[in-house]
Amino acid sequence: MSQNPLLEVRGLKKSFDVTKGFLKKEKHYLYAVNDVSFTLKKGEVLGIVGESGCGKSTLGNLIVHLHEPTAGEILFEGISLLDLPAEQLRRRRADIQIIFQDPFSSLNPRKRVFDIIAEPLRTHLALSKAELKQDVLHLMELVGLNRSYLYRYPHEFSGGQRQRVGIARAIALRPKLIICDEPVSALDVSIQSQILNLLKKLQKELQLTYLFIAHGLPAVKHVSDRIAVMYLGKIVELTTKEKLFMNPMHPYTEGLLSAIPIPDPTERKEQRKLLEGDIPDPVNPPAGCKFHPRCPYKTEICSRIEPEFTEKEVGHFVACHHPLGKENKE
């Protein structure tokens, strides 16, 4: 527990200018990521869940530096990535890789599997032709791709196989951190568990650290150690998987949990607490607690003051004025 975190994110913000028309004086900003802080230890898997549009993908893109943050710091192994000169940042990129959601747009349709997987190797290492081929074949084996697929084009593959190619590309340089940006949500249900198991296996074998982004809790539960729940650009609850599922403190988490379908009807004893309403317009977020218009437990203070993100129990961070205790459950 005492080891230095691999990744530390402090007060990260990203806003997009959504002002329409160039004559308007008043600017409108969409805060996709609004003051997010967390740490990630080596070998850990942190799941990030939230509804569409809550900023979880933007968070992932910020960490791999596909977006420039508006404010905040990203420390990777204690070094601030944002302060690095361009060439050093380019070299550092080998340590942080990303797996994308849509395997149909993440592979260049004009390139063969070999060239796709070899690209990171060619970019950062000087390998001979034979070494390169051997490395690529080894990577294909690791992700469960038949070696005869080496010179095929992406369109010849199914979604699951394409995602395996994407995973091989991401692990090619043995990165320390991989951002999994909803890696299974575009796949058939039957394929999802295969890819999840593959990711889990690779994490163990290669001692990878994952930031695992998903929009539903079930997929995240399978792979994560800790889970962060995001709502409108903010983390509202962050704790271990067990605590989150047994004892959610934020009403939003509770809503997400009760939305998980229970297959066995006899176990559906509890009254479901389904969330009502939609995510508010992120350009004009509600005052106070961002969740209060949908919260069943809201009081007067919730609409005025935004709750602090604090550690309510050991290792259990929540941003809520009225965190749900154990007494509220059961």
């Binding site: 791999v64 380019r90 994308f100 993440s106 592979l107 349709p109 970019t123 697929y149």
Partner: protein, 298 residues
């Protein structure tokens, strides 16, 4: 996607040339296009040996002679003669040299400029983008032919200046098409993947973007070979293009326009030559576009 594809996927990496030839002869339009283009190029190269007469020899006795299969025609002038008694067939054979050279090289020149501008402005955006796109707008605001006229007037007529002028005035259409394609492709995840790997910008542009936009370029470029040949003929007609002893299809065509009512063959045969060669180039371009896309290659 299709089952037959996965069956023979293990095929070894053929030499590229072999594969292309195989794909060429499998496509009928590709074969026809290649046949037409190769024969026209051969005609242009072998013109001195193929042409039955000198293209400039004037024969005042035999003016407006119809083609050989019509009344009044004979075998010595297969496609007839023009208003000065020059042999049309020989002029068309010699004209292919200039027309092909001007048509193809000015499109290539315009294409190289346009594709490079489109790739870089689309990818980097910002000031570079604004600058070149406003420049493109100002080019579009002036009719091409006027711009070419002014430039030819300044630099003086001649084959090389003609090619340069046509190339420089036509880059805009390619730049705009390529730029808009780049704008949509650069948002796709495989470009973001390359960025997150740390691939250099130059490599992203030429190895990821370029192969994905080149097919649109080929389609537009093959079509505009035709309009360039016509544009060359208009400029030559105005006296600023090809200078007389040289002949091009365009000059023959415009020479013959005045006699359309009486001697139709003067303008018809160079027109046919333009049509056929343009068709050939379009067929070849279509085939090229198809084989550059791995999804259509079976």
């Amino acid at each position: 996607m299709s089952r037959s594809l996965s069956m023979h996927g293990t095929a070894k990496k053929n030499s590229k040339m072999k594969r292309w030839m195989k794909l060429l002869f499998r496509s009928k339009t590709g074969t026809v296009g290649l046949f037409i283009v190769v024969s026209i190029v051969l005609v242009a190269i072998l013109a001195p040996w193929l042409a039955p007469h000198e293209p400039q020899t004037i024969d005042p006795v035999n003016t407006h002679k119809p083609p050989m299969w019509m009344e009044g025609g004979d075998r010595s002038n297969i496609l007839g003669t023009d208003n000065l008694g020059r042999d049309i067939l020989s002029r068309i054979i010699y004209g292919s040299q200039v027309s092909l050279l001007v048509g193809i090289s000015s499109v290539v020149l315009a294409g190289v400029i346009g594709v490079l501008v489109g790739l870089f402005t689309g990818y980097f955006g910002g000031f570079l983008d604004t600058f070149f796109m406003r420049l493109a707008d100002s080019f579009l605001a002036i009719p091409n032919i006027l711009l070419a006229l002014v430039m030819l007037g300044v630099f003086g007529p001649g084959l090389l200046t003609l090619i340069l002028v046509l190339g420089v005035t036509n880059w805009v259409q390619y730049a705009r098409i390529i730029r808009s394609e780049v704008l949509s492709i650069k948002e796709r995840d495989f470009i973001r993947a390359a960025k997150s790997i740390g691939v250099k910008h130059r490599h992203i542009i030429f190895s990821h973007l370029y192969p994905n936009v080149i097919s649109s370029f080929i389609v537009v470029a093959t079509l505009s070979v035709a309009s360039t040949i016509i544009l060359e003929s208009s400029l030559s007609f105005l006296g600023l293009g090809i200078q007389p002893p040289q002949v091009s299809w365009g000059t023959i065509l415009s020479d013959g326009r005045d006699y359309l009512a009486t001697s139709w063959w003067l303008a018809t045969f160079p027109g046919l030559a333009i049509t056929i060669s343009v068709l050939g180039i379009i067929f070849l371009g279509d085939w090229l576009r198809d084989i550059l896309d791995p999804r259509t290659v079976k």
